[in-house]
């Protein structure tokens, strides 16, 4: 169970900005999101999308705990 956040065009594409998802790792989470919404899964795999785990950018897989917060960040536009 992790809290998943989407920003910018990813949230528009998915139709949601925040959701609780059952998953034990980032890889499992991506698979679950992709299964429920293939277009979102495709978008999340884009090279310009970054992932933050508990507000820190991470690469590759990570174990998730029930209170993990995972954010998918499309290219930042600046302020």
């Amino acid at each position: 169970m992790a809290r998943v956040l989407l920003f910018g065009r990813l949230a528009d594409l998915a139709g949601w900005r925040e959701r609780q998802v059952e998953a034990e790792s980032l890889v499992a989470l991506r698979a679950d999101l992709s299964k429920a919404d293939p277009d979102l899964g495709e978008a999340l795999r884009g090279p310009s999308v970054q992932v933050a785990l508990d507000k820190v950018l991470v690469r590759g897989d990570r174990t998730l705990t029930p209170d993990s917060e995972v954010a998918f960040l499309p290219p930042m536009s600046g302020g």
């Binding site: 956040l5 920003f7 910018g8 065009r9 528009d12 933050a52 507000k55 954010a71 960040l73 499309p74 290219p75 930042m76 536009s77 600046g78 302020g79």
Partner: protein, 151 residues
Amino acid sequence: MSVTLQTDAFDPGALLSAFCRGRQETGGICSFTGLARAEAGQTRLLTLEAYPGFTDAAIAAMALEAAGRFGLQDWRIVHRVGPISPGEAIVFVATAAAHRRAAFEACDHLMDWLKSRAPFWKQEQGLDGNRWIEPTARDLADAARWDEAAG
């Protein structure tokens, strides 16, 4: 030395007044205020999305780095999030230093970074619908000026 992200409109002058107060050893204070332009009648609403706890932390880390690099005595950053109307202030940056060159350069540098690399997602609602914006070539070139200088 603080960052504020806020949905409410702010008065840049009130922030500058507070920032200038009680300074005995500051020689120069530079401020920059970024405003939302109306773009000649093509009325747009600008909406900025931030990731609270992530966006402000990234801005503070950047500002602390700049403060060390330019020898700032103090800095202040306020950034709007949410919908912003034309003519309203989007961002306020103030820098204080013993000498004016450092205050100018640090403020300029912080703005370049904020405009091109700060973790915001910006949407323009124009007459032809909504679109998410990415940094312009100009923004990226402005920000890149400082990469070399740091080397």
